[in-house]
């Protein structure tokens, strides 16, 4: 997956560099030998041809062979064939840059240039160094561009994976919700209807087994669960609970253990007060403490049995530990459970606590306390799929990874290329061709051609400045200039020092047509053919030098064209990758948000409801008690609202209200629902706060209730007026929603208000 495009580009360039050098050198030497037309020339051509075996086949010795080749040519030919030697030299230097790293090419280039300066003088230096630097720059430019595409693609792929993980998690939790619907919700409704207590208890026991078996990591908020247990206790309990999501089976073990510990406080400690704290740690840490009279753990048989079976055994069965210390200052029980690699599969049936007391102190503790706390260690339990939703990197789009700049479009690449070409063409025209034009006897049309080309330069410069496109038809002007300038040359001067226009027209064609490769190649070929035809018409001349000039001139222009095309392709791929990244990121954020909404809903709800289900299963409460029926009624409405929250409907608030009304009606309450105003978007957490008081009052209603939803321009108000006498929602004023409850002539009115603006 990693660096695909960059690796492929590097491999291609370094593989082709040798053959390109080999082919180029052979061609140049062929023309060079023609030009020299001496036996020495032909021998040298043969030697060069043989040496290219190294370029094509033997990359290991290709560098020294190429080095020697240039030195031999340079020493033996000297200044006689400066075009030949110079072109072989530059070809060698350019292709080296593509094939080897800088630490190889810099010393090799320096050594070769030193030899060259000694044999032919310093005239070559400027051109050789300049072309080497340009070759290296072009190479690095392509490399960086490809790397950027790779990075974007990789990030998009990572996000795609993250989105898939989040979606999968969301799907699993929805399945769990469906399970809850079939189990706990049905049981609560049955109890609320006044079902047979024994049947309700049996069903609650079956529910607990099913819920614990199908553990989704972190489905129950242990904090909410133990808060509910504490509130239900006859002992006054000070609760300090954070949100700690754990599997349902683990939560159940804690609920039963803490229930037992609080019962012990009530029975034996001689104090009416205790404290319960719930913290996350590496899983969950619960401390139940009292300042009662304490006891010596091993000396109290009754305590031993209760603690062993109900506390230590239960925790061990889900892979946790329990340590109870007691003394004159009171009793402290520390219950711990750690998230481990296979916490997803550990349920209530995960193991049976051994009957022996020694094992609780043994090495079975999943997390050795001597391990350094700050250690950053990848744990399967904290993979993204299981991670705490409050982690900011999962909760929100990661801004640190956002694309630094908008993806470059083809147009941006083209504009930049055209600007660079403008500079190059201006420089070539002024610095190189103008002296050549004025220092040789040209016919008048040559000056017309020069003026024509200057006009093209001005036109393109104007278009670039005004951000208007350059038309292909403009290429007709350089072609016309080609004809004018070529025909105006002194006799036999084609491709010689007086031929100022040959290379320049090629650059002009590139300037106008580089974004249309086929048109460029066609126009360049036409220009070339006319120049060659004129050369032949004039009786030919130094064919070899002409060939070298044509080769070195056109190869540069074609090279620029190739680089532009690659850059343009990269820009397009980068834009695509950036779009894919955006899409994946959006998908992930949506999935995460949905998952979080879902979780925040049922972790807390199930946490609060699990103790009630456990009480029903353990027959600590019976469905024949009015109090229990009321609690079950509230639980049924809450669960129903939770399910409704996850339905995808146009008016979720009304949908959730209707769901609660539906449960109350099934209980035999006559409910009328009135709605006014148009649907307004309400955030999930606000919706929860708006619906909860109504759901609570409705669950307590005995005969009639009126539920109303009013949406004005500035407010959303949910109200219930019911004949409920107990378990009334408390008035409060959170940051977003204010709840007001009051009782008048036997009717309770509870209203939740949220200001939309």
């Amino acid at each position: 997956m990693r660096d695909v495009l960059e690796a492929r580009l590097l491999a291609t360039v370094s593989r082709l560099a040798g053959p390109v050098r080999g082919a180029g050198v052979v061609l140049i030497s062929l023309f060079g030998a023609f030009s020299v037309s001496s036996p020495l020339g032909w021998w040298l051509f043969a030697a060069v041809a043989v040496s290219t075996v190294a370029d094509f086949r033997l990359p290991r010795i290709a560098l020294p062979v190429a080095f020697l080749r240039v030195v031999v040519l340079s020493v033996l030919l000297g200044a006689d064939a400066d075009q030949w030697v110079l072109t072989v030299l530059t070809t060698t230097l350019i292709t080296w840059q593509w094939q080897w790293p800088l630490r190889v090419t810099i010393p090799a280039t320096a050594a070769l240039l030193a030899v060259q300066v000694v044999t032919t003088g310093p005239a070559v230096l400027v051109r050789a160094v300049l072309e080497s630097v340009l070759a290296r720059l072009a190479y690095e430019l392509l490399r960086r561009s490809s790397r950027r595409v790779d990075q974007l693609r990789e990030r998009a792929a990572e996000r795609d994976v993250a989105a898939a993980v989040a979606l999968d998690q969301s799907r699993r939790e929805r399945e769990y919700l469906a399970l809850l619907h079939d189990t706990a919700a049905a049981t609560f409704l049955m109890a609320a209807h006044g079902g047979n207590p024994a049947d309700v208890a049996a069903q609650a026991r079956r529910d607990l087994v099913v819920l614990a078996e199908r553990d989704v990591p972190g489905t129950v908020d242990l904090g909410a669960a133990l808060t509910a247990v504490s509130l239900d206790s006859t002992v006054r309990v000070r609760v300090d609970a954070s949100v700690v999501p754990v599997p349902a089976g683990v939560a159940l073990a804690f609920v039963r253990a803490v229930r037992e510990l609080l019962a012990n406080v009530e029975r034996h400690a001689g104090t009416g007060e205790a404290s319960v704290s719930v913290t996350a740690g590496r899983g969950a840490v619960v401390v139940v403490a009292d300042r009662g009279r304490g006891f010596v753990v091993d000396e109290v048989p009754e305590h031993r049995r209760g603690l062993r079976g109900s506390v230590v055994g239960r925790l061990e069965a889900v892979g946790g530990t329990a340590v109870v210390e007691s003394g004159a200052g009171g009793t402290v029980a520390r219950l711990e459970w750690s998230r481990t690699a296979d916490d997803a599969s550990s349920g209530v049936g995960g193991g049976v606590g051994p009957g022996d007391g020694a094992s609780s102190e043994g090495g079975a503790r999943p997390d050795d306390e001597t391990r350094p706390g700050g250690e950053v260690q990848p744990r399967r339990g904290t993979q993204p799929a299981h991670a705490d939703p409050s982690r900011p990197d999962l909760a929100a789009p990661d801004t640190s990874q956002s694309t630094p700049t908008p993806p470059a479009t083809d147009q941006a690449v083209f504009t930049t290329t055209r600007q660079v070409l403008l500079v190059v063409v201006s420089a070539v025209q002024l610095v190189l061709t103008l002296p050549s034009l004025v220092s040789h006897p040209h016919a008048p049309p040559a000056y017309l051609a020069y003026a024509l080309l200057t006009a093209v330069l001005a036109t393109v410069a104007g278009q670039v400045a005004a951000h208007t496109p350059t038309r292909a038809a403009l290429a007709a002007a350089p072609l016309a200039a080609s004809v004018l300038a070529t025909t105006a040359l002194p006799p036999g001067a084609s491709f010689g020092p007086a031929d100022w226009a040959f290379g320049l027209v090629g650059w002009y064609l590139l300037l106008v047509l580089f974004d249309k490769p086929a048109a460029f190649v066609g126009a360049l070929t036409a220009h070339l053919c006319f120049s060659v035809a004129w050369f032949a018409h004039g009786g030919g001349g130094d064919v070899g030098t002409a060939g070298v000039v044509i080769l070195s001139g056109t190869s540069f222009q074609v090279g620029v064209l190739v680089i532009t095309r690659v850059l343009e392709r990269d820009a397009r791929l980068a834009a695509e990758a950036a779009a894919a990244l955006d899409a994946a990121r959006t998908k992930e954020v949506l999935a995460r948000r949905r998952e979080q909404d879902l979780r925040a809903g049922f972790e807390g709800q199930l946490g609060a409801l699990l103790p009630l289900l456990a009480d029903l299963a353990d027959e600590r409460v019976g469905a024949d008690e009015p109090d229990t029926r009321l609690r079950c009624s509230v639980a049924a409405v809450q669960l129903r609202r939770l399910f409704a929250e996850n339905d995808d409907v146009p008016d979720p608030l009304l949908h959730e209200l209707t769901a609660c009304v539906d449960v109350a009606e099934r209980r035999g309450v006559v409910v009328s629902l009135a709605v006014s105003g148009t649907a307004t978007p309400v955030p999930t957490e606000v919706r929860r706060e708006l619906v909860a008081p109504m759901a609570q009052a409705l669950a307590a209603a005995t005969g009639r209730a009126k539920v109303s939803l009013l949406r004005t321009a500035t407010e959303v108000r949910v109200a219930v007026v019911a004949d409920a006498r107990r378990a009334l929602p408390e008035s409060h004023d959170t940051s977003a929603v204010s709840v007001e409850t009051s009782v008048h002539s036997g009717l309770v009115r509870s209203e939740a208000r949220w200001r939309t603006t």
């Binding site: 709605v675 148009t678 109303s708 004005t712 108000r717 009051s742 008048h744 002539s745």
Partner: protein, 214 residues
């Protein structure tokens, strides 16, 4: 005095007509005509009935607002009786000049009170209509005082004026005059209609509302 009130019912469901007839007769309102076509309110005994109880959906899908308009423009006192409770239609009927708007979910009690009030040329605001007024977001809605809004909302939420009076610590008649004042404010906006003009004129005459409040 109550026995003097006469009404005509236009509804395409025989069961509804029978139900309404029964409710009105037990409350001492004389039903002089009923039928499924609006013609019953224009000819025979129906033409002189004090109040027209008009079903807004006479068989068709489109609400019979043009029928309502014709009746109102002729000075008839109309109570709209409808299956539909969309706020938009409710507000539109008030704008045309209906004295009350009842949904069929609202029982006999509200219908009787609405008909009695209409016979006097007065408005009646049942809870659903109060909800529609409280949720009104239109640009042209009249400015209500905070107290008026609160009465409107509480009435919508509880359906019990005694409950509203207790909650807000006011008398029952204060609750009613708040509701009336709200309706007068609504009558003062939009299209002219004889019933609306009468509502406003009487409110000013009785000192229920000042010109400045409109």
């Amino acid at each position: 005095m109550a026995d003097d009130v006469t009404a005509v019912v236009v509804d395409d469901h025989p069961v509804v007509r029978a139900g309404v007839a029964h409710w009105l007769s037990t409350a001492g309102v004389e039903l002089v005509a009923s039928g499924e076509e609006p013609e019953v309110a224009w000819s025979g005994p129906g033409a002189t009935a004090d109040v027209v109880v008009l079903d807004l959906h006479l068989g068709g899908v489109a609400p019979a607002t043009s029928e309502l308009r014709k009746l109102v423009e002729n000075g008839r006192r109309v109570v709209v009786y409808s299956m539909r409770a969309d706020d938009e239609i409710v507000l539109q009927c008030l704008e045309i000049g209906a004295l009350s708007y009842l949904t069929k979910a609202e029982g006999a009690d509200h219908l009787v009170q609405a008909v009695r009030a209409a016979a006097e040329g007065q408005s009646y605001t049942p809870p659903a209509l109060a909800g529609a007024l409280a949720g009104d977001r239109s640009e042209t809605r009249p400015a209500l005082s905070p107290r008026e809004t609160e009465v409107l909302v509480e009435w919508f939420q509880s359906e019990s004026k005694e409950f509203v009076a207790q909650r807000l610590n006011i008398t029952l008649s204060t609750v009613n005059s708040h509701l009336e004042r709200i309706r007068v404010k609504y009558a003062a906006i939009g299209r002219q209609a004889p019933t609306k003009a009468a509502l406003v004129a009487r409110a000013i005459q009785d000192g229920l509302i000042g010109l400045d409040d409109l």
